[in-house]
Subunit: 217 residues, 2 copies
DNA sequence: CCTGGCTAACTTACTTGTCAGTAAGTGCGC
DNA sequence: GCGCACTTACTGACAAGTAAGTTAGCCAGG
């Protein structure tokens, strides 16, 4: 068995544990302060060492940040009993479940909300991470739609594209509102409602919005 | 005639113009670097002065930031011919039009995307700004839904609440994806699709998601 | 006994905000 | 219409704080 990260020969058995401790502290810190305002010293303090110690493990703040992001992905998948993200219509249920689960971990949600938006700026460290992330996720949702549409005898490539982006979008947007005011939005319920709405619209498109404004029912 | 801003006697006629120049530079800078990474010196350079000059006009970075936010709101409303945001079902059309309009101004969209997420962190300068903003916007959408629902003979308070948050959420979320990869998402089209979907779901709720996974149509 | 894990002590690089000073206005009395 | 009093719009220098990263070296486990 090759070690997790190829080159590094991590002698001490406590090392891996310490790294994970730092990673968790980093999630906590980046989540509550953002990646620019959260400092290495903040993180180091949480695990009882100096910021130089953190750098010893991760080399630079940027590397730590990227490891935080992939760490979440890793643990996310581990949560699934079968260790893989379901496809087809099951995916939509999985997304809803994820939304409910997220309502129990504001810290991680906050890291992602803050970092994904930060990543939009010029040459942010995590720019390509998020770019690829959304590409992959949209493709996953698209695939699920294709299975479902075949099942229901519907085909509308354009609708599927718009719906795929929209589903991810509502989830993100609701997280933002929920983080700002947790009591104002029920993250799980609202996500479920919106995802259901979008799925329905793909399967059975209704009349255009403008007809309501004109008073037609 | 009382002067525009009560106390302040802004003698020089060029002052207002310069302030606006700074404001626009700040939008540019905060948009491309975020409010934490964008410095007063960056902004000052764009308008050909020193950072101290900027502080002379706005007092502090925080005040400048808040003025940037309300400046956008002000110019936003000015765009509307009738100078006020429409209510009732018209609001949904207005939101869709806004989404299409936003696709033409990535700069401003980026400021809002970046700042709204930043504002989620601990004691961010713009935290309460965005908190209140979403409260107001959700209430506006809720009102529109109530008019529409009365018109269509539907009542579901819970659905309306979830839908109101969801509509704002999709718009924000789509902006994020669009900023990351403008070619991957059509901001206007996708927003229209999602908003329509959510409105339909309130008016005519469909079967639960789980039924599709079970293969029932 | 050597290497990994860590710290102390810096260095370097910024950033915001303050301050004093200056040049160019503005408006007023005359 | 002119000069004087006063204000505005800055600049340049600097204080104070904070962050990332570097280096030398100590200590303990394997």
């Amino acid at each position: 068995m090759t070690p997790t990260t190829a080159s590094a020969q991590r002698a001490r058995p406590t090392t891996a544990r310490k790294r994970e401790e730092i990673l968790k502290a980093a999630i906590e810190t980046f989540g509550s302060k953002g990646s620019t305002n959260g400092t290495l010293a903040d993180i180091a303090e949480q695990v009882g060492m100096t910021h130089a110690g953190v750098l010893h493990h991760f080399g630079s703040k940027q590397k730590l940040l990227l490891e935080v992001l992939s760490y979440r992905d890793k643990t996310d998948v581990e949560e699934l009993t079968d260790q893989h993200i379901p496809g087809g219509p099951e995916l939509f249920l999985h997304l809803v479940r994820t939304a409910f689960a997220n309502a129990r971990r504001p810290g991680i949600v906050q890291v992602f909300t803050v970092l994904s938006s930060e990543s939009v700026t010029n040459g942010h460290a995590a720019h390509s991470y998020f770019l690829e992330r959304y590409q992959v996720l949209r493709a996953d949702v698209r695939d699920a739609f294709e299975v479902l549409c075949a099942q229901e005898g519907v085909t509308d490539r354009e609708a599927i594209d718009k719906a795929s982006a929209s589903i991810l979008a509502v989830m993100d947007g609701l997280q933002l509102q929920w983080l700002l005011e947790p009591t104002a939005v029920d993250l799980g319920e609202a996500s479920e409602f919106a995802i259901t709405a979008i799925v329905h619209e793909v399967l059975r498109p209704g009349q255009p919005l403008s007809s309501y404004a004109r008073g037609e029912s």
